[in-house]
């Protein structure tokens, strides 16, 4: 449920679902996100779901804060119960050439490489949100023992396809970009395809993801 609605400037509604970050609260955010998207409410030109907030942007030439607020308050729980999430499997290769921060993680977590990988590949992740850079999924939750801080000095360039961990989340770098997450492997899968006009991103908020470990050989042959 939305706990509070306020304005974020004069062209956006800020819907607060609570202070915590958990799957239950995030699922509520995603339900509202999907429902509002389908409703095509006049003037709304963007929606940004995150862990526990939903920001609704609108064109101030077409509508106003009070009008959009009224529309959102009209939405009932039953209208927001639809789920359109997918289950996905993402291949990841953890060859030394890809697992850039494995040594660091072994030290920080006080776990062996095999223990880290076993835990990681047995986990079923939930996509809380996508963004920051185009298509990057924020996947949770890692077990307590797997949670590490981001790098003290972020990398200037993290290779495309890198799979990283920070605190309770895993992510995938959809293209080469600066970043500070602990990189443990790389996926050959195109997680964000900018040539697609519709649905360029593979993983959407609400989807569940399991990673599958592949060998370097399988990685190299993946796109053939």
């Amino acid at each position: 449920m939305i706990k509070n609605i306020s304005n974020l400037g004069d062209a956006a509604l800020y819907c607060d679902f609570g202070a915590e970050v958990n799957k239950q609260i995030n699922s509520e955010v995603i339900k509202y996100f999907n429902t509002i998207r389908e409703k095509n409410i006049k003037g709304i030109n963007n929606l940004t779901p995150s862990y526990n907030k939903l920001i609704i942007s609108y064109d101030l030439n077409l509508t106003s804060f009070n009008k959009i607020k009224e529309e959102i308050e009209k939405l009932t729980q039953s209208e927001t119960s639809k789920s359109i999430s997918k289950n996905l499997e993402i291949p990841v290769c953890c060859d030394e050439s890809f697992s850039l921060d494995m040594e660091r993680l072994e030290k920080k977590l006080n776990l062996k490489r095999d223990e880290i990988l076993e835990n990681f590949f047995n986990k079923e992740f939930f996509c809380y949100m996508t963004g920051f850079i185009a298509g990057m999924p924020f996947l949770g939750d890692l077990d307590e023992q797997m949670r590490a801080q981001r790098l003290e000095t972020p990398r200037v360039k993290v290779p495309k396809g890198s799979v990283g961990m920070t605190e309770q989340f895993a992510n995938i770098y959809t293209f080469e970009s600066p970043g500070g997450w602990n990189i443990i492997g790389n996926t050959p899968l195109e997680v964000f395809d900018s040539s697609k006009q519709k649905e360029p991103n593979l993983i959407n908020p609400g989807d569940t993801v399991k990673f599958k470990q592949i060998t370097l050989e399988e990685y190299k042959n993946y796109n053939e």
């Binding site: 400037g9 963007n46 101030l60 030439n61 920051f132 298509g135 360029p200």
Partner: protein
Amino acid sequence: MSNNYFKVIRAGINTTFQDKGRNNLYHIGIPFSGAMDNRNYLLANKLVGNKLDLPAIEFAYQGPLLKFYGDKINIVITGDVVFNIKQKDNKIEGNCYETYQLEHEDEINILSTNKSVYGYLAISGSFDLKLQWGSCSINTKANIGSNDGKKLENDQEIKISNINKNINKKKISYLNSKIENIRIMKGTNFDYFSEEGKKVFLEKEYTVSKLSDRMGMRLEGPKIENVVNTNIKSEGLLKGVIQVPADGNPIIMLSDHGTIGGYPKIAVVASVDYDRLVQISPGSKIKFKEIELSDAETLFKLYEMETQNLLSQI
């Protein structure tokens, strides 16, 4: 079919194609982008008789030097821009908001924006560009948009089609108004800051830093003290949002901003002041002035009416 194009002799500092931007992609990490100064972008298209949503060339500080090959074409520059046009042996100083006709091998040299940042060049025709998610706007940081998501480069050619030859010379007298007091509304984390910090933010002057671009405007000045937490759970951003990271210096999100961020939001710039905000050049001083939501809505309507008025005079 005749072959019309510009050759880019000098690309300029940050020259891109921009239009009205792209909607409904925040949730996958793609911002609006689009022309930074929307009013000047619209005026440029109107002056050359185009549909208002056609892409124009946006430049910052030093603009491009372009040589035209082909039939006659009308061009216009909007903003506060120093430029000249070379026609055969003749060089003329250009005036903004006034159309000029270029002929084969004429050159247009955009020297600089005058105490401002962005200017626009529109032509009586269309640039041959690919749309990506409904817009040609280039976001160079994410490599999104026409021209492979890159800014213009020296020696490249810009193909032109659909030249409209029946355009009369047009001109309006308009002066970009400057602004020093940026009107804002309180942000969702306004109360993360100490009483003194809030006072500093609302009363002191800030200097626009050189580290400002289409993604954000960094400000330098008295530090704003945070008494709650210098991080929030990452959440959506919008253009105009003012974040204050741990170092206490505010950053204003601009059109190519990242879509998610984790710094507290002290305030949001009123939409009415966005076009003029982006024109404030590095080294200039700005002050913030708090207004209520209802005032912001009214002021925006008046600003829009003024824009429509200007457009209808053309």
